[in-house]
Symmetry: C2
Subunit: 925 residues, 2 copies
Amino acid sequence: MDTKYVYFFREGNAGMRDLLGGKGANLAEMTNIGLSVPRGFTITTEACREYYAKEQEFPEGLWDQMMPAVGVLEEEMGKRFGDLENPLLVSVRSGAKFSMPGMMDTILNLGLNDQTVEALARGTDNPRFAYDCYRRFIQMFGNVVLEMEGFRFEEILERAKEAQGVQYDSQLSTESLQGLVESFKDLVLQETGNPFPEDPLEQLRQSVEAVFRSWGNHRAVVYRRANKIPDDMGTAVNVQAMVFGNMGDDSGTGVAFTRDPSTGEKVLYGEYLMNAQGEDVVAGIRTPHPIRSLEQENPEIYNQFVEITKTLEGHYKNMQDIEFTIEKGRLFILQTRNGKCTISAALRIAVELCREGVIDREEAVRRVDPYQIGTLLHRRIDDKAVLNVVATGLAASPGAASGKIVFDADTAEERGLAEEKVLLVRMETTPDDIHGFLAAQGILTSRGGMTSHAAVVARHMGKPAVCGCEALKIDYASKTLTIGDTVYHENDVLAIDGGTGRVIVGDVPMRDPELSQEFLAILEWANDIRNLRVLANADTPPDATVAREFGAEGIGLCRTEHMFMDPSRLPTVRKMILAQTLPERQEALDELLPWQEEDFYGILKAMQGLPVTIRLLDPPLHEFLPDVDGILKALAELRTRKAALEGLTDEGDQIPGGDPPEGEGAGDHRDADQSEEAKLAQALLLEIQDQIFDQEVLLRKVRALHELNPMLGHRGCRVGITYPEVYAMQARAIFRAAARLTREGVTVYPLVKVPLVAHFREMQVMRDVVVAEAQKVSSEMGIEFPYQVGAMLEVPRAALTADEIAEYADFFSFGTNDLTQMVFGFSRDDAEGKFLPTYTSEKILPENPFAVLDAEGVGKMMKIGVDLARKVKPEIKIGICGEHGGDPASIQFTETIGLDYVSCSPFRVPVARLAAAHSALQMRE
Amino acid sequence: MDTKYVYFFREGNAGMRDLLGGKGANLAEMTNIGLSVPRGFTITTEACREYYAKEQEFPEGLWDQMMPAVGVLEEEMGKRFGDLENPLLVSVRSGAKFSMPGMMDTILNLGLNDQTVEALARGTDNPRFAYDCYRRFIQMFGNVVLEMEGFRFEEILERAKEAQGVQYDSQLSTESLQGLVESFKDLVLQETGNPFPEDPLEQLRQSVEAVFRSWGNHRAVVYRRANKIPDDMGTAVNVQAMVFGNMGDDSGTGVAFTRDPSTGEKVLYGEYLMNAQGEDVVAGIRTPHPIRSLEQENPEIYNQFVEITKTLEGHYKNMQDIEFTIEKGRLFILQTRNGKCTISAALRIAVELCREGVIDREEAVRRVDPYQIGTLLHRRIDDKAVLNVVATGLAASPGAASGKIVFDADTAEERGLAEEKVLLVRMETTPDDIHGFLAAQGILTSRGGMTSHAAVVARHMGKPAVCGCEALKIDYASKTLTIGDTVYHENDVLAIDGGTGRVIVGDVPMRDPELSQEFLAILEWANDIRNLRVLANADTPPDATVAREFGAEGIGLCRTEHMFMDPSRLPTVRKMILAQTLPERQEALDELLPWQEEDFYGILKAMQGLPVTIRLLDPPLHEFLPDVDGILKALAELRTRKAALEGLTDEGDQIPGGDPPEGEGAGDHRDADQSEEAKLAQALLLEIQDQIFDQEVLLRKVRALHELNPMLGHRGCRVGITYPEVYAMQARAIFRAAARLTREGVTVYPLVKVPLVAHFREMQVMRDVVVAEAQKVSSEMGIEFPYQVGAMLEVPRAALTADEIAEYADFFSFGTNDLTQMVFGFSRDDAEGKFLPTYTSEKILPENPFAVLDAEGVGKMMKIGVDLARKVKPEIKIGICGEHGGDPASIQFTETIGLDYVSCSPFRVPVARLAAAHSALQMRE
């Protein structure tokens, strides 16, 4: 028997993509579930392969199969090729197994000729439409089938527009279009030596062959190479009847969703226009009607359509986005696909489809995109707001905020206490600004990256922040902010969107976070699916409480440095750092101990029954000190004042400008009582000299602690090694809190995490320090409590020697922020401001590796570490903390290398729970 | 048959360490080559194991084997246990397979009792000596064998000294010692309930058991655990006759080397004393005679000894260090070992032994320590000099230098040009100081680490430097340097030793580098052995020439940044960096091109026929800019002057102090012609305002380029990605130089190395840039030349993805300095000043990983990279450059992971050649 090259749509199904291509299989599927799809047939990919196998000859027997297929098509549509009343027009489209958008050719309105164009004009009562279709068809046919150069047609078109004195194609009159048809046909004759084929069958034959040919065209070949699609698959060709919604008042066209794509509510949602083509709806020339009006206008069609939507949802088990056309009272479905909708709608639809029994819980969970749900967890700018965006910085801490701008923390605090809404604007922030953070709605800085002080603190306070917005020129002296040519003064209102980095002028409508019932249901179902535990990064009891509410199963990272940055403690912390001797340092540590103990008491209590992983002090010590620039500026000012005062006291009788408190009005009595003023100046001078001395001492100490590359400097357990008393104090505080709570009947699980381990000896020594404190506290207080001591794996060497370190660690936690920095050799602060934007825009890197874990590099490093650790301690718990712990793609990667948990900021916990469920589902597949 | 537990020395040999322990096997070996070693026997380790197997019972049959052995010993020595005339005294020493120095017990002079002590007194004619031996023996026996607490004996000893009114043991009279013997014996009776055993056999039995027991003592167990020595090996026990050199004028003792340990000359070298014990020679109470005097004094003994030395050299095939004793005219060899000597001597001995046919070339090469020969390659402080070391910094660049101290580069240059010897002392250096480097003998800085500007530049100029010497307080204003309480002024003479970091007051005698014939011979022989190629790191034609003379086989790393730091080019470099637009930058690059071209022309020519690997620009751009502190200081000064001047011009009639050029004497005409002065001041003010503006602009630009972690910042190929025109210019300069030389008939092999690659896409893009320039130059100049493009592997991610990168790289070069920084997460500059000293002193790390490659971590990372690369490109050449390339242990490691070459600084090339030969020899074994 001859090979079957031609399949009617009703003969195929969705599973036949190899033979019918993606589009053909989809048309077959729709036809088979009983939809009134415009009829047609698919020429198989095998025919295309045969075409190439026979050196581009029309496959033997294909035409013999097409001829009867055309007959059946004519029959089914009640139209005929070349018919003067009711001509059949078809589209001829390519359709390979894998979608290659725009790479191959398509021909529409095939079947038009000098006769049928008139029939179309009459049928639509729109000669302009008919002739426009016809001239486009000739142009497309000439270009695609006859391989004529496109610009030849364009030239003629341009001339026609000039002749008519119009600018756009759409302004051409029917007469012009008729003239164009003639000119195009002349061009075809002239260029090819043959007249334009008026016989629809001839048009069809040539078009099918052209589609076969387009599989081999240059851009398609390049596309396949780039996308690793084999060259020998071939394309199918779909021949489908055209239908027209502009065939009179019993015709029309529309688009509908089976549920409301904004809210997810189960109502038919969409719009339609009678006697119109799809383009008319899109072009907005006429206002479409809501779909419900169709019930009045044409109840039969409406009911038919409602039935179809039910069938489609039932078949595709998802909300459908459906395009339809009504031709002379006959309803055709042109396309259906899963509808795009807002994340709130997606949640509701998934949950309701599940409750309706259409999908199961796993599928419902699978339907909700973890990337999107993150936006529901923060205050955000209303989608409908019109925004005056004046600058863009780094999206440093999600959420939106607006307020009057202020330029220092003290003002922010003052206004904040007065219940004013303020936005703190700084070039960069330091620990001295913390009270300003607390009082402000959000933070905006002109310098610093995603790990700058401002960004880190804001994220952990849950404050919106935009950082490193280099377009801002901030002048503290004049309290102004200049963007481009516009100057903003203190109290002007700006808004920021910390989720996108936008800076917006004026107040902006906001929406509060949403934690709908559907959201909670999906998260609940996700819990039953996921393998990864989800912990939270939280540093304070309120953070811990939020984390718990969001479903965190413990704390994976409690940073202790933020506890040190509390303004009331900072002086003691600085005393500890600047201590020159152990007794001096110990004295400061003894002061810090009760504070730390209360910190840990609060967190352990908030998380009772759940593990709390506390990381010992990590950042470079100088982060707790004032910066050199500030000291230098203070010194410069002091010296200027000193110079001025010296002028005064040296000369004995004149005040030489400067900043005397009297101001200008004081000039009058300059000559009077000079010696009194000189004495005052002398006293002032002495005081200034004292201040200069103090600043100089501070400067020397700060300079001595200065580091060229603090990220790689004296921090983490290196501080623990050089000053074990610091870690001992922290461990003591943790265990005293644990002991007290245990005595009070509260179950606690403190886990102590040693940061920045690079060598097993560090871990060995640090473990000894921690264990010694645990034993001391336990025996002093006469109470036992559980605890573990583990290591952060954030230095490449730690991953490379994880087997050695595992001997001294009860658990491991990948610090992927630092690990990414070190594996890439990228300082995040510098990279994100200086070269990473180029790297992602030039596609040197597919993504910012600080946002999405770099599986090929950083991930490989992690896998090495996991495999080594598990070799010596198969049961050791290994997790990841840091921002990747809240990123869905990264979460999935961690599951593939066998991690046990992820830990992320409290607001990302729901995202992580859902992403972990997705990851588990993917692993099963 | 019973197990043989007792071996006479003559029954063993060097190969029996398992059974006889190290010491026993060695005594056996000496005995067997016919030396008159004091006779004795060894009790096997098996006996010890049996002792432990039987719950610490004296092994059955052991005593039965020991008794006859003692008889034979008495026979051979002509002495008897307990003999009243000629008593046999023995030592009982432990001796395990692996040396455990000081961990187990030893008993000397066993056999002494109330009778034999008198015989010893008579024989040595030294009752004090005899009683001192006796009381020590009782003390040692009591302590070790009877397990009495040592302090009990010490208390009695202290009382005896008090009673006699003396301070030291050696001042005790014979009578006191006799009294002590009685008191000690009383103590033994009182503490143990038994009298001190006077029977030598009883003493022996108990001592042997005590040595067995000491295998299990606490410190030995701890030592074995630390050194991974199995607990079940057991120790052997050596029983050996004591001999005494103080038995009269026919007795004596001495030490001799078979060759001169200072020069290596083949002469007997050593000294001896007649009628003396070894301690007398060491104590320096009497002056020993040179060994040659023995020829006159006792020709028979002398000739006998000379024969023995020849035998020993022949047997051990090495210069020997021999201890001997003559007892009553009978020569005993107590010990022989390979002699320690200077590196110059070691070279000469190795070469001469080879020429004498005693050892082959491989062995000669093996004999010379590559670590030591490094010192021969620099000017160094004479070993005999007495030094007044006042401070120690980092040994930043080897070699010694002395000179008058100066505090700025300009002065250094001025004085240097006047042929004065100066030492440039700075807090830290910048590119602006280069001319000072050139003029100075050496560099001394108070800040910065091994990779600070000063250290890096000094190493590559071959200038001695001590850096980061924090004890120095430098005051530029007063041109003073304070160390402790001492102030040094400009022109005071200091010296530095860049090999050790010492800072020395005053001029110091120096020795020039030595490249003896023997040195050259060893290097020549090393060439025939080694597998690794040895290249040099050289940045200039003179460096390249030195490298070639030292035997470098090409240049493995030519840094281009030092070319940029030339003071005459720096302004153009800064223009390039500060350019805001591409045309601006291109203009600066066009100026730099001809300079770079000449640089490369010179180096390629100097290395003609050999490969030259040129690394494209690597450091962060701000390294070429003035630093913020300097600008801020300049600004502060300008502002102070401005404030002062404003006082003047505002008031209109007074100069209010400050720094007007007139000075104090100008006060007279203050009242005259005020408007003239005011005008001047006004003009000055305007000028200062201009300067302030310029500095502010510069400050803003420098700040914009400022990085928080420049090591991980915008540098290396990241600059190449963001500003491809910079790398294009460098590539163009390289290829233009190559084309010109090729045209001139010079063979060139330029290799272009892309720094800091982390992702294959970087390499792909950079390769395209370089190749495009090569093709352009080639077609412009009509000439072909060979070239390769490779990558530095210095970022962990590059090693992790070396397979991907290899597709775009012709070769790889590990930059182990940066790789170590990133694998450890250590910034070298910060680590070496702040915490690495603690890390090495506390044994957290065995070595400074920047000096000795960390095989377990960094090395593992490298191996991952090598294996991945070779998987896709088996023939790809991979090497290492950076300081590890000159470190012998690191060189050996590179060979084990299959690298092809090492590249090190020119002065380390001989070290590397020798180390590579050692490594090859080790690989064969």
